[in-house]
């Protein structure tokens, strides 16, 4: 099937496409097709496919355009709702994650600062007096750091969650 392409193939294709083949085609072309295996094969295949198309076309039963439009719109609406629901679910997850992260951060910082304060007050005798004078200082500091951590971490976590989408 790698032989040369017949020079009259285009002529035959045009006759087939216009519906002139075979009856209304030139006598000369018909004679050529009878003697050319390449064109004969083309005419045979193209005619078979066209005959089949006509046969199947008679049994076509398609939904009307209005129904097709309605189905497309319903599916668009459903997918839009599903996409919106997915976004809401991801936002909820991000908020929960941010809250958990903030709580863990506060607990960790409180614990670390408490340990550090104990070490400092134990290591430096002069600091113990200072602690006795200002007992509320560690918790205020802890809360301040935790608040700053919360303020920084929450938007960061939310941004990371949303950026994935």
């Amino acid at each position: 099937m790698n032989g040369p392409i017949c020079a009259r193939e285009a002529e035959l294709v045009a006759a087939l496409a216009s519906g002139r083949w075979p009856e209304a085609a030139d006598r000369d072309l018909r004679d050529h097709v009878d003697s050319c295996s390449e064109c004969s094969e083309l005419a045979h295949v193209a005619s078979s496919i066209d005959d089949d198309r006509r046969a199947v076309e008679g049994a076509v039963s398609l939904p009307p355009a209005g129904a097709a439009w309605w189905r497309v719109q319903m599916r668009m609406e459903r997918e839009t709702r599903e996409a919106a629901a997915r976004t809401v679910r991801r936002a909820h997850s991000a908020i929960v994650l941010a809250t958990v992260g903030a709580v863990v951060a506060v607990l960790a910082m409180t614990s670390l600062l408490g340990a550090a304060w104990s070490w400092l007050t134990g290591a430096l005798p002069t600091m113990r007096d200072l602690a006795a004078l200002q007992p509320a200082t560690p918790s205020v500091t802890t809360l301040a750091i935790a608040a700053v951590g919360l303020a920084v971490l929450t938007p960061l976590i939310v941004w990371l969650a949303v950026a994935e989408e």
């Binding site: 392409i5 295949v45 076309e57 076509v60 355009a65 439009w69 599916r75």
Partner: protein, 193 residues
Amino acid sequence: MTTTIVSREIALLRDAKGETAEVSSSLMDEEAFRSFYERTSRGLWLFLVRVTGDRQLADDLLQDTYYRFYRAGATHESESHRRNSLFRIATNLARDAHRRHGGIVSTTIDEATGSTVDHGMDERTDLARAFERLKPRQREMLWLAYANGSSHEEIAAMTGVAPGSVKGLLRRARAKLAELLGNGRSVAEGGER
């Protein structure tokens, strides 16, 4: 009203995904969609029936094709481009279905009776049987060329084949089909799958 709301929501979603708002604004309106459907659905359905070998599957793919075409909201410079785009979507969907089913699915076994049920090819023509023995791409190209009357450039656009390869591939597909049509016994009882 519903259409407007849906279009606006889609525009918002697409904006959120970083796509351009122009794409969503180019969604077809109802009149344009209906008109395009009227002009193309018959030819597309016939194409899908012969490429998949299953009318029920062709019905499903037809709907899916129009949905995806509409959702893409792409602008086309001409009717021909729009049509090529539609057939390209259908071709891809048919190939996906072929991969899922592992070939043409034209018959199944009825669970109740155990008998073979034809899915929709009411008249199993010689051509239908011969088509089953062809590769999906060969079926697509032959149908587009000789049933749709598509040019080689259009076939390339519709199937994703390089324009320069269409002629040779079509020629080989034609030879294969001629061989299958010329030997009804081998087509009916087995052959290349």
